[in-house]
């Protein structure tokens, strides 16, 4: 079974140019990529050989999100390409929709980052049995839950209000996915106690914790050294 895919493809120059025009106009009086990255120049980030670091500042956060969306998109591309045994048509519909959303997120970040984007990551799904509904939905829940905790956990580091708004636009869709997958696994289990605390708040995770989970499924390891 094919479990490795080059996650980069296609030309998105048009979209990138329009994003940069938008970025150049400035939002809420806050400087963008170049200005933002200089804010953290006194943080010393020592790269680890063979590991892709997302970088610092808002660019680093967008690359962190890009890495996670690459992983999620690759997972659902595989799920839809090789459906598990006796997948009901409604589940194929749902999983195809989710695939399309994750590809959309991946391509958005790629376009937004342009030349600042990290490289395409190579996933490693060898631990996932794509023929098993239980295995696939279990992995899907893990990916969606991880995505929600990742966006919520890193959001306070975002310096540009427009980026924060877009991160918010994406994270609620990830939460919608997470709840659906929870319901498909066990009816009514859309607010699972391992993800939502006793105050009714979704848990969040710092990038280092998120990447421990994500790197399990990545051949290309990712770090976020400038975000503790």
């Amino acid at each position: 079974m094919k479990t490795e895919t080059d996650l980069t493809n296609v030309n998105v120059n048009m979209a990138r140019r329009s994003f940069l025009r938008y970025a150049g106009a400035g939002v809420a009086g806050i400087g963008l990529l170049s200005a933002v990255s200089s804010c953290h120049k006194d943080h010393n980030v020592v790269p680890t050989e063979g590991v892709t670091d997302v970088g610092s500042g808002d660019t680093g956060i967008l690359n962190f999100a890009y890495a996670l969306e690459q992983l999620e998109a690759a997972f659902y591309l595989q799920v839809v390409a090789t459906p598990y045994t006796n997948m009901p048509s409604i589940e194929l519909t749902y999983l195809t929709d989710i695939r399309d959303h994750e590809v959309c997120h991946r391509e958005f970040f790629k376009a937004a980052l342009g030349t600042s984007a990290i490289k395409g990551l190579t996933p490693d799904f060898s631990k996932i049995d794509f023929t098993s509904r239980t295995a696939v939905l279990g992995a899907a829940k893990a990916f969606e839950d991880l995505g929600v905790t990742a966006y919520d956990g890193i959001a306070y580091n975002i310096q540009n209000a427009a980026y924060l708004s877009i991160a918010g636009s994406i994270v609620s869709v990830e939460a919608r996915h997470a709840a659906l997958i929870g319901n498909l696994i066990t009816q009514g289990n859309f607010v699972s106690s391992d993800q939502v605390d006793t105050n009714g708040l979704n848990i969040s995770n710092k990038p280092s914790a998120v990447l421990v989970g994500a790197n399990t499924y990545l051949k290309t390891k990712v770090s976020a050294n400038s975000f503790s």
Binding site: V12, R99, D100, C104, V173, R176, A179, F190, N199, G200
Partner: protein, 301 residues
């Protein structure tokens, strides 16, 4: 003033500063476990006190106003589910509705405690002239008159409430920019509201054959539909505005990037359905209040 510069400056003097103010770090994890031995409600109080202590002052008026706005929505939601669960014979999917009811009431408790701890005055149900879930401006005979007698109407209104809650929290995120304590808490609630929205939609679709997906899929292309009609899949035209606004749910340009021109999973472009469903859009505080006041509630002046 840049919060992070302040934090960095303080860290030079007090290396443990971040540990003490961050709810996600070990110091606060300890407090959380300590809190589990006392009262859950004490946790936000502890956070608020820490925040005050860390900055030597209460949270700003703008932060308090965002939190009170959120609390207003949570009171509306919690009371809606409390009334629904109390209505005899209405709710048949208690596993879903009771879970959501529980979460919304916890949000009320959490925000009330957090606002008090931060030095603000939390709104309460008694601050409203009425809560009218029929949308009748206090007449209790508005367009959703059957809301607590017809389960399908109840579910449709619930779907709208949850979708609107998601949009409302999202709209406030930029007002909490850089604020680790309150932005993170707001987004954590925001995610739970999105889980609820997904679940209500799934329930309506899987059990009651409503034509809805767990996400908001808009069908109109090309124009930005500020009316919301292109994205409102509740089956209740009266709530179009909940899906409209200056940045409506059928938006296909995000951060200047035209999503429709990006490559999709199986073609060189992205469909309107995927582009609209992949992103939820915000509502401003003004937009949310225009939806709620006076149809559903009115604050005492």
């Amino acid at each position: 003033m840049n919060l992070f510069s302040i934090v960095e400056e303080i860290e030079k003097i007090d290396p443990e500063f971040n540990d003490r103010i961050s709810p996600r770090r070990d110091a606060i994890k300890n407090i959380t476990s300590f809190g589990s031995k006392v009262a859950v409600a004490a946790i936000p109080f502890a956070l608020g006190n820490l925040f005050k202590k860390a900055y030597g002052q209460s949270a700003s008026a703008s932060v308090i106003s965002v939190l009170n706005f959120a609390l207003t929505l949570e009171i509306l939601e919690a009371t809606f589910y409390n009334d629904g669960m109390a209505a005899s014979g209405l709710v048949t999917d208690a596993a879903y509705i009771a879970q959501i009811q529980s979460d919304e009431n916890k949000h009320v408790t959490f925000l009330t405690s957090a606002i008090s701890a931060a030095g603000g005055t939390p709104v309460t149900a008694s601050d409203f002239v009425y809560l009218d879930y029929t949308g009748g401006s206090g007449s209790m005979a508005g367009p959703f008159t059957g809301v607590f007698t017809s389960y399908q109407t109840f579910l449709a209104v619930a779907e709208t409430f949850e979708d609107t809650g998601v949009r409302a929290y999202k709209g406030q995120a930029p007002n909490l920019l850089g604020n680790q304590t309150y932005l993170t808490a707001a987004l954590d609630i925001h995610a739970v509201e999105a889980r609820h929205a997904s679940a209500i939609r799934y329930l309506r679709s899987s059990k009651y054959n409503a034509t809805v997906l767990p996400w908001i899929t808009s069908t109109a292309s090309g124009s930005v539909d500020t009316s919301g009609a292109a994205s409102n899949d509740t089956g209740v035209a009266a709530v179009n505005a909940n899906y409209g606004g200056a940045t409506p749910e059928n938006t296909t340009v995000q951060g200047g990037v035209n999503i429709l021109t990006l490559p999709g999973a199986t073609s060189s472009t992205t469909t309107v359905a995927a582009a609209t469903a992949a992103f939820d859009e915000p509502l401003t505080m003004t937009e949310v209040l225009a939806i709620l006041v006076p149809a559903f509630t009115k604050p005492k002046s």
